[in-house]
């Protein structure tokens, strides 16, 4: 169980609160969506869950204990901009194997070609880099995945391809996921539960569960249903 308890964050010690009192619980193998317009602090929330930032308020608990400060973090993030999350001076094979040696099956399912691994990041497209960032984050030690607008820059087919591979991996290994996105159709498709954050006035603290967006069917769900919830 990955829990955020009364989480709050602000930049500096006197800045305005980005959000306060955020609570979330994600069970093993559960896929939860986080939906909201831009600028609400969704990415920062993801960084808190992944241990990239220390919360100004509240706690992040994994199985009742705090996230480890050193060593492999069981909560891994995949970021919105893959070109920023890989070292521009490393060939991608090295980036891919930074934490573990990903099995061939995972690389195949993500569509990672062997030829990419000898190249530098600027020689690959964003979609190709993102697949490598995803494979890197899905190590055997990963219990939860925070996917922050992971496929926002990709075309629909690539998006479907990557999500199918990720969802298969999560299902087979009991990995839970928080999918941060402002694409309602995508969240309806992937998530068993979607948390929607309010508009400009409500802020993230006004988070409520949107029953209407529950899909439960996972990725294999009906297209018409997803389209219906999006509309």
């Amino acid at each position: 169980m990955l829990e955020a308890i009364d989480l709050g964050y602000r930049f500096g010690s006197s800045g305005p609160w980005l959000f306060q009192g955020m609570n979330i619980r994600i069970g093993p193998g559960e896929v939860v969506g986080l939906f909201g317009p831009s600028g609400l602090g969704k990415t920062t929330f993801g960084h808190l869950l992944g241990g990239y930032l220390a919360p100004a308020q509240g706690r992040v608990l994994l199985g009742g204990a705090a996230l480890p400060v050193r060593g492999y973090c069981p909560v891994q993030c995949v970021h919105q901009h893959p070109e920023l999350s890989v070292n521009p001076r490393w060939r991608l094979g090295r980036t891919l194997r930074e934490a573990y040696d990903p099995p061939e099956a995972l690389l195949d399912s993500l569509g990672i070609a062997a030829a990419w691994l000898s190249r530098y990041p600027h020689e690959l497209s964003g979609g190709e880099l993102q697949r490598i960032a995803v494979a890197r984050a899905l190590g055997p030690g990963t219990r939860y995945l925070v996917a922050d607008e992971m496929t926002a820059m990709l075309d629909a087919i690539t998006q479907a391809h990557i999500w199918r591979a990720v969802m298969d991996h999560c299902r087979e290994n009991g990995v839970g996921a928080l999918v941060i996105s402002h694409d309602e159709a995508l969240l309806a498709r992937l998530c068993s539960r979607v948390i929607a954050c309010g508009g400009v006035t409500g802020g993230m603290s006004a988070a409520v569960d949107l029953a209407g967006m529950e899909s439960g069917e996972g990725f294999a769900g009906d297209r018409a249903q997803a389209a219906g919830s999006a509309a």
């Binding site: 992944g50 241990g51 990239y52 050193r70 060593g71 492999y72 973090c73 891994q76 993030c77 970021h79 901009h81 920023l84 999350s85 890989v86 070292n87 521009p88 001076r89 980036t95 930074e98 934490a99 530098y120 600027h122 020689e123 890197r136 190590g139 030690g141």
Partner: protein, 292 residues
């Protein structure tokens, strides 16, 4: 190098092609090699010529350049080629020492400034600001006097006044790297601070550092020559390029052009070689241009 895309409009054919000049990376490597060759040539020439040419031979004074004296002779009959080469050698040594000291200082101060918190950062930035606001030549003269003058004064002054710019570069590089998403991700992937410093930070900093070091060379050499030219530090009989140039000023109006122009041109050539060397190594080490 093995897989080199040949440009359709390459101007290199025949022999140039044979040397690989149609490939950009090979051209860069050639330029680096030629520059290193020039430096080796200075050492070889200095060893080959010996110091015999430094002695006065009044019978052959004020000779224009000839086969026996390619750079001519000065009013005391000393061989100008020998004196110029000795001067360049001295400049190389001073330049090497100065840029090593300055770049190591810059590395230590820059990394400390970006790593050890706000107080250290403020102190280092304050030092950098102070050093950068004083005109460089004034600073050189001040340090040179404070260090007791003489050749030691010149070396100390040149060595301890070239670090501020590189310190700023290294500081901003480290700050940028520490905040980079891939460095923070490496931490979450279980890499230790030491591993991250070795595998992520060092490969970024090392080329910056080396190129900074090489590009400090021409500054150091020119400042050493400038100080000698002004008559600060080195004694008048030392064959330093700055001293040769200041001596030649007295003979400009008498038509002994070789006294000033040839040593000056030799100094310019050496400085330009360092410039080319630094720029080309920069291009070779940057992954964005390395595979071109």
């Amino acid at each position: 190098m093995t897989q080199c895309a040949t440009l359709v409009t390459t101007p290199f054919r025949g022999f140039g092609r044979l040397l690989g000049l149609d490939c950009r990376r090979t051209r860069l490597l050639w330029a680096v090699g030629i520059c290193l060759g020039v430096f080796a040539g200075i050492f070889a020439l200095a060893a080959g010529l010996g110091t015999a040419g430094l002695d006065p031979h009044l019978a052959v004074r004020n000779q224009a350049p000839s086969l026996a004296h390619p750079f001519g002779t000065d009013p005391l009959g000393r061989d100008m080629l020998t004196r110029t080469v000795r001067g360049l050698l001295l400049s190389l040594k001073v330049g090497l020492l100065a840029s090593l000291v300055s770049s190591v200082l810059a590395l230590v101060l820059g990394v400390a400034s970006a790593t050890f918190g706000r107080a250290v950062d403020a102190v280092v930035n304050w030092l950098v600001d102070i050093f950068m606001t004083i005109p460089h030549l004034v600073l050189l003269i001040l340090i040179s006097f404070a260090a007791g003058g003489g050749s030691r004064g010149v070396i100390v002054a040149v060595a301890f006044s070239h670090w501020p710019a590189l310190t700023r570069i290294i500081r901003s590089e480290v700050l940028q790297l520490r905040g980079a998403l891939y460095v923070r991700t490496a931490r979450r992937l279980g890499r230790s601070h030491w591993e991250i410093a070795r595998t992520h930070l060092l490969p970024h900093l090392l080329p910056q550092f080396l190129i900074g070091l090489i590009l400090l060379f021409p500054h150091a050499i020119l400042h050493e020559a400038a100080l000698s030219f002004l008559g600060i530090g080195l004694s008048p009989h030392t064959p330093a390029v700055g001293i040769l140039l200041s001596e030649s000023m007295r003979h400009l109006s008498t038509g002994y052009w070789w006294l000033g122009i040839l040593p000056g041109a030799a100094l310019m050539l050496m400085v330009k070689c360092f410039d080319i060397l630094g720029t080309n190594i920069d291009r070779l080490s940057d992954p964005r241009t390395a595979q071109e």
